[in-house]
Symmetry: C2
Subunit: 137 residues, 2 copies
Amino acid sequence: MNTSSDVQIEVPSAATGEEAVDPGRVALARERMPGEAEVADTAEVFSLLGDPGRLQLLLALLDGELCVHDLALVAGQSESGTSHALKLLRAHRVVAPRREGRRVYYRLDDPHVRMLLDLALAHTAHTEASHPERGEH
Amino acid sequence: MNTSSDVQIEVPSAATGEEAVDPGRVALARERMPGEAEVADTAEVFSLLGDPGRLQLLLALLDGELCVHDLALVAGQSESGTSHALKLLRAHRVVAPRREGRRVYYRLDDPHVRMLLDLALAHTAHTEASHPERGEH
DNA sequence: TGAATATATGAACACGTCATCAGATGTGCA
DNA sequence: TGCACATCTGATGACGTGTTCATATATTCA
C-alpha cells in the first residue's frame, strides 16, 4: 500500500505505543503474529523437542510403540529418567500410554509433532556434516 | 525376521549391551536413529525455537527482514534482550545480519527453520483453542 | 572531533530444568 | 498373601538459561 507516501508526517502510535522504523513491515509482522498464548504453546512444543533425551525417545517412537524398558534402552537413558520424560510428554499429549500387563507401551499421539520429527529427520539425513553449526561466540 | 523363534535361548547382547523386550522393534528404532551428534544438533535447533521470545522474533522475520528496533517492538522485548537473542540465533546461522547505516537488519537464513516455523504457524492457525494442553502435572 | 543514535556486549542474578536416588505404586504369579 | 518385576513418583542438587543493567562499540552527522 502507501509504501512511498514520502512525507511520513507522524505515526499516531496510539494503540501500538511506540514508533517503528518501518511501520509497514511492523504492521505486517504484527498481523501474522499469533497471540501470546499460541506463541507460548508452540514454544512449549518446540521446547519439548529441544532436549536430546526426549527427542531420542520420540524418534524411537516414530516406527511404533515401545515399552518403557525398550525406550530407555534405545535412548541410552536410565529407566527413571525415561519415565520422567514420558510423564512430561504425556502431560502435553505428545505421547499416549497403553498398559499391557506390567508393561506400559507408549506411542506418538500428536500428528503435528510427528510431522516436525519427520521433517527434522529428513533434514538430518541429507545435511550430515555439511554444517559446522558451532563456531562463533 | 525371527519374530516367533519361540525358545529365545539367549541374546548375544555383545554390541548392544542389554536385553530388549521386543528386539525387533528395538533394532528397527536403532537403525532409524540418527547418531548422537545429529540428535544433539537437531535438539539444539528445536531448543532455539523453544523460547517464546526467540520464537516471536523468528516469526516476525517470516515476511522479511527487520531491524533490531522493530524486532524488539514486534516481539515486545527490550532491545538488549532482543540483541542477545539475535546473537544466539546468529551463532547458529538461523538468522543473518545486514548492516545499513547504524541499523542492522536481520533476516531468516535457515530454510529448514523456516519450514519448521511455517509448519508451526499453520498448525497454530487451525488448532486455535481446541487443545487444553495444560492441565496435568 | 564530539554528540547522538543503534546495536552489541559483559556481568550478575533469579529461575527453571535435568539427572539421580530412594522409595512408592501397580501388576502378575506362585 | 507374598514376592518379583515394571513403571512411576518425589526430593535433592548441579547446571544451564533468560533477563536486566551498565557500558562498549559502531555509525552518522554537524
